[in-house]
């Protein structure tokens, strides 16, 4: 599975990580919706760490489409909230 951390780069991860990433992703969104910033940051950081730790960075000669794209690592909770509510981070 290829995961991109937006603005950072792509990583190749074992497929088994998908489930854990999914869980973290959904929990992160929940924290964001609850306005719980410390929790949001902790979960989002855990997600990024998981990708960086388990993943192998793709080389420049690997031209692959990502299966998963995570928001930029410096995404704030406000930005994320904005993102999920419609117009966001990346203009439509």
């Amino acid at each position: 599975m290829i995961v991109r951390i937006a603005t950072e780069g792509q990583y190749r991860l074992p497929d088994e990580d998908a489930q854990r990433l999914n869980e973290l992703d959904n929990q992160t969104v929940e924290a964001c919706e609850a306005g719980d910033e410390p929790r949001f940051l902790a979960l989002f950081t855990e997600m990024l760490d998981l990708v960086r730790r388990d993943g192998r960075a793709l080389g420049d000669d690997e031209l692959e489409e990502s299966d998963v794209i995570l928001p930029p690592p410096d995404t704030s909770m406000d930005e994320a909230a904005h993102e999920f509510s419609g117009e966001g981070l990346i203009p439509d």
């Binding site: 599975m1 991109r4 937006a6 603005t7 950072e8 780069g9 497929d15 998908a18 990433l21 999914n22 869980e23 973290l24 992703d25 959904n26 992160t28 969104v29 420049d60 000669d61 690997e62 031209l63 692959e64 489409e65 990502s66 299966d67 998963v68 794209i69 995570l70 928001p71 930029p72 410096d74 994320a80 993102e83 999920f84 966001g88 981070l89 990346i90 203009p91 439509d92």
Partner: protein, 259 residues
């Protein structure tokens, strides 16, 4: 592809994909969008230059603030030596404010530095991926049947397109941040022009003197006391020669002011 159902990643992915400007044949897009690629790379260069300019501006402000901190600290010491705790307090309050600003400037400069490094890195990566794509395309064409080649080239093109979209996103974020910092720097310069960090700021409670002027008055006052004491000693009417060294601590000097 394993099933990812996390909402955050789905939203981001669909947005990135929308940025990709999907064409029927992505490889053709890559090929024909050479102009676009060059523009993007050019923009990244410009983005880096903007970041550098903003960083320099912040660093100039940092220097000014650092000087201000030293000056205010000296003023506070001078005021205390003259028993003017009120004046010392004002100087220290300003010093704290300047230090707070300094700290946030440090953070901003660090952030701009990492932004700069990231953009340079991204630009190189994109250049290299575009290069790889051109090479790969020829290799694929030579190795596979036309139909297979087309699929494989499309896949590679999508990968490159995603990289382009990501560079675009990194650029946009860098610009947003730089703009925010520029606005902040501008606001600080306005404050500075208005005298918030300046000696000419009026003291509170209707006072008309700035710290420097008040200190200067105190100093000249004690200078007068100094002279007076020396004259008295010379005339033999004064009795305490030790007073010379203690003048800074003498109290209520104004009563001795010559008429």
């Amino acid at each position: 592809m394993p099933g990812m159902s996390g909402r955050m990643s789905i939203v981001i992915k669909s947005k990135i994909n929308r940025l990709l400007d999907r064409a029927e044949d992505p490889s053709e897009t890559i090929e024909y969008s050479y102009q676009k690629q060059m523009e993007l790379l050019q923009n990244v260069k410009k983005g880096v230059a903007d970041v550098v300019t903003s960083k320099k501006r912040l660093q100039l402000q940092q220097q000014k603030l650092e000087q201000q901190v030293v000056k205010l600290d000296t003023q506070a010491r001078q005021a205390l030596a003259q028993n003017r705790e009120d004046l010392a307090r004002t100087a220290l309050e300003r010093k704290q404010f300047a230090q707070g600003e300094l700290q946030s400037l440090d953070q901003q400069v660090a952030e701009l530095e990492s932004q700069q490094a990231q953009l340079i890195d991204k630009e190189q990566k994109l250049r290299s991926k575009l290069e790889q794509f051109r090479t790969k395309k020829e290799v694929i064409k030579a190795q596979y049947s036309a139909a297979e080649a087309s699929v494989k080239i499309s896949e590679a093109a999508t990968g490159v397109g995603e990289e382009m979209a990501d560079v675009g996103l990194a650029m946009q974020r860098a610009q947003d941040k730089t703009e925010t910092m520029r606005a902040r720097a501008g606001a600080m310069e306005e404050l500075e022009a208005a005298g918030a960090f300046d000696d000419n700021l009026q003291l509170g409670s209707g006072g008309q003197d700035d710290i420097d002027r008040q200190l200067h008055e105190l100093t000249s006052q004690s200078g007068v006391d100094d002279d007076l004491a020396r004259m008295k000693a010379e005339l033999g009417s004064g009795s305490a020669p030790a007073s010379q060294g203690e003048l800074g601590q003498s109290s209520a000097p104004s009563e001795e002011r010559p008429a």
